[in-house]
């Protein structure tokens, strides 16, 4: 049902079961162009599993995921990335032994085949783009530093930068501020506001203050199903959400 609206992602009747346990069940979710959606929910609600299915890491048992009208459920991970879906993992996932520059360079969307890599030459466009991204993620002074030596927060930013350089139309971030200092959180919120221009973003987050600061719309998951959806204000006052969060 790819209607005339600006839907980027349509998740319908999505179900996955691990040995009979349904981590996600009959889930529906629609994300618009340029929307920043935050997914919240208690532990085990199926948030990360949902992202895993969108990016192809976990294959759903039933249901469909359409991205710009393309069915993702049968595509391999690298093919999904190439259609424009980027994924940040919960723990900073960067190449510790390479420099910041090289981390970004490897994420630049060209020469992704074996022969392309062998024939690869560093072009000025690439270098320019790397510098541009490095500035966005506040690492312009650290380009030649080995990425393993960055602070935890900087590693998280680097990974976000590695996704940005891919120019994804849908960016998924799993707990981007986990383990960050207060100041780093503020900077990250600023960064997110900046990068969601021109693309859709799905963020999983636990930190409610942070969610309030960035979210356009919030989806609350509980036991693999959508419990509530809407603006932060509406969701916060929804009795079922309060029940799930405080009730036990």
């Amino acid at each position: 049902m790819m209607s005339g609206t600006d839907l980027v992602l349509a998740v319908e009747d999505l179900t996955v079961s691990f040995d009979g346990f349904k981590a996600v069940e009959g889930l529906n979710m629609y994300v618009d162009q340029d929307e920043l959606r935050v997914v919240i929910g208690p532990n085990g609600a199926g948030k990360t599993t949902l992202l895993d299915m969108i990016c192809g890491r976990t294959k759903p048992t039933a249901g469909s995921i359409r991205f710009k009208g393309k069915e993702l459920t049968r595509m391999s991970e690298h093919a999904i990335v190439r259609t424009g879906v980027g994924r940040k993992f919960q723990n900073p996932s960067i190449y510790e032994n390479l420099t910041v520059f090289e981390n970004l360079e490897l994420s630049y969307p060209e020469s992704r085949g074996v022969w392309g890599c062998l024939a690869f030459r560093r072009k000025p466009e690439l270098v320019g783009r790397v510098h541009e991204i490095a500035e966005t993620i506040l690492l312009q002074d650290r380009l030649e530093m080995e990425a393993g030596l960055l602070s935890h927060g900087q590693k998280q930013w680097l990974e976000i930068g590695m996704l940005l350089i891919q120019k994804p139309e849908l960016l998924m971030l799993d707990e981007p501020v986990a383990g960050m200092s207060v100041r780093e959180r503020e900077q990250t919120a600023e960064l997110l506001r900046h990068i969601c221009k021109g693309r859709s973003v799905i963020v999983i987050e636990h930190d409610m203050d942070f969610v309030e600061r960035i979210a356009h719309k919030v989806t609350v998951l509980h036991q693999g199903k959508v419990l509530a959806e809407g603006s932060m204000n509406r969701v916060k006052n929804d009795p079922r959400v309060i029940e799930v969060y405080i009730g036990h």
């Binding site: 990016c55 890491r57 391999s76 991970e77 690298h78 990335v81 190439r82 980027g86 994924r87 993992f89 996932s93 960067i94 190449y95 510790e96 032994n97 390479l98 420099t99 520059f101 090289e102 360079e105 490897l106 994420s107 969307p109 020469s111 992704r112 085949g113 074996v114 890599c117 062998l118 690869f120 560093r122 270098v127 510098h131 312009q140 002074d141 380009l143 030649e144 530093m145 080995e146 990974e159 590695m162 891919q166």
Partner: protein, 401 residues
């Protein structure tokens, strides 16, 4: 000059390669008598496999315990051609069926098997030395890596493949020469390969091909593919979710390592004059891994020294105490893995650096020093030059720790 500077900053510089080239191309041929030089030639043919393993195991993170398979495929392809040339109707006139290899005649074969026929052409044989290992590796690699089989499982499967191929060769005596292998090889296009002069020529061909293989390996590692392999070893998922098909890259290094092994096998056949299943199975495959481990599995050049030192040790030691050799080699492997995970190349890196520091203190600044003291400061150094400089600095820091 700039290019030269860059090489100094890289993982394995040009100097160690020049030292190795001088050793095997000049020093050894001058000091060794022909018989010993031929032995070194044999060891160098093993070094091809070790160099391939550095790429595959050290950088690709994939341990294959079945590289003997590819060594054997290359070696047998060469041996089949040489055997056919040695089996012309005149020299095999006493056989029931003249004109076919002797072992076929002993096994009551009366006709050359179909898969032997194309090996009458040297061109075909030379192509087969490269293509057969590559295709075989591609098949195994695709079957394994596309299904995400890796680590210990991959190692065990390659070991099983080595065992199966050995059993196949031994069992099909009439087609392969069985346990004895293909022996009594004489000439290559009429040129007697058994003479001292021919052995010299073959030694040089082998050495130059080996240096060529190291350069190919260096080219691969210094480029984007090398950085990607490092990235894969560190965070495979991140690479996958950056839009790369990780399996393709593993298949590629596996094929490249296989081709190198195949060339090594062919050079072995030419220099030693026979090929047998004892260079295909599990034991030789593990020996190849030990060569790479002792030499240093992150060093293309170290692998050559590993192959030379361990093989030489084997020849010396097993002449005196043949039954103890296997135990000694096991102990060697364990101690290298436990105490010197970077092998000889690691020792060179730590102690060699100290030595060079002492030497350079009394002399003018060396190129190494020009690279080292660049701080990873905030000023922007553009492009690859900057990256190379920074890496030089970081490496220097690490080594001095």
């Amino acid at each position: 000059m700039n290019g030269l500077m860059e090489l100094f900053g890289r993982r394995s510089g040009i100097v160690p390669l020049l030292i190795l080239a001088a050793l095997i191309l000049v020093v050894l041929p001058l000091v060794l008598e022909p018989f010993r030089l031929n032995l070194v030639g044999k060891y160098l043919s093993f070094a091809f496999v070790a160099v391939g393993l550095v790429l595959l195991w050290g950088y690709g993170g994939v341990l294959s315990l079945g590289q003997g398979v590819f060594f054997g495929l290359g070696g047998y392809a060469m041996a089949m051609f040489l055997k056919l040339e040695a089996s012309d109707p005149e020299s095999t006139a006493i056989q029931t069926t003249p004109g076919i290899p002797d072992f076929m005649d002993w096994n009551q074969l009366t006709e050359l098997p179909l898969f032997w026929v194309p090996f009458q052409s040297l061109t075909f044989a030379l192509i087969a030395i490269v293509v057969v290992p590559a295709v075989f590796a591609w098949i195994i690699g695709t079957a394994m890596f596309k299904r995400r089989v890796g680590g210990v499982y991959f190692a065990i499967i390659t070991q099983a493949v080595a065992l199966i191929l050995t059993i196949l060769i031994v069992g099909q005596q009439g087609l392969t020469g069985g346990i004895n292998g293909i022996t009594d090889l004489r000439t290559l296009k009429g040129w007697d390969i058994r003479t001292e002069q021919a052995q010299y020529v073959l030694y040089y061909v082998c050495s130059i091909l080996l240096i060529g293989s190291i350069l190919v390996g260096k080219f691969v590692l210094d480029g984007k593919l090398g950085r990607l392999l490092l990235a894969m070893r560190d965070k495979e998922d991140r690479v996958r979710f950056s839009g790369y098909d990780v399996a393709d890259f593993k298949i590629f290094v596996f094929c490249l390592a296989a081709v190198m092994s195949g060339v090594g096998g062919a050079m072995f056949t030419l220099q030693v004059g026979f090929m047998s299943p004892s260079f295909v199975g599990i034991v030789p495959s593990i020996e190849f891994v030990i060569f790479a481990a002792v030499g240093g599995r992150f060093s293309l050049i170290g692998a050559v020294y590993g192959a030379l030192v361990v093989s030489w040790g084997k020849t010396m030691f097993s002449e005196a105490y043949p039954e103890l050799w296997l135990f000694l080699m096991g102990a060697l492997f364990i101690s290298v893995v436990m105490f010197f995970p970077k092998g000889l190349a690691g020792l060179w890196e730590t102690h060699g650096r100290r030595l060079r520091n002492i030497l350079s203190r009394s002399k003018a600044p060396s190129p190494g020093q020009l690279v080292a003291p660049v701080p990873p400061g905030p000023e922007r150094v553009s492009g690859s030059e900057g990256a190379a400089l920074a890496r030089g600095a970081v490496m220097a820091e690490r080594r001095s720790e």
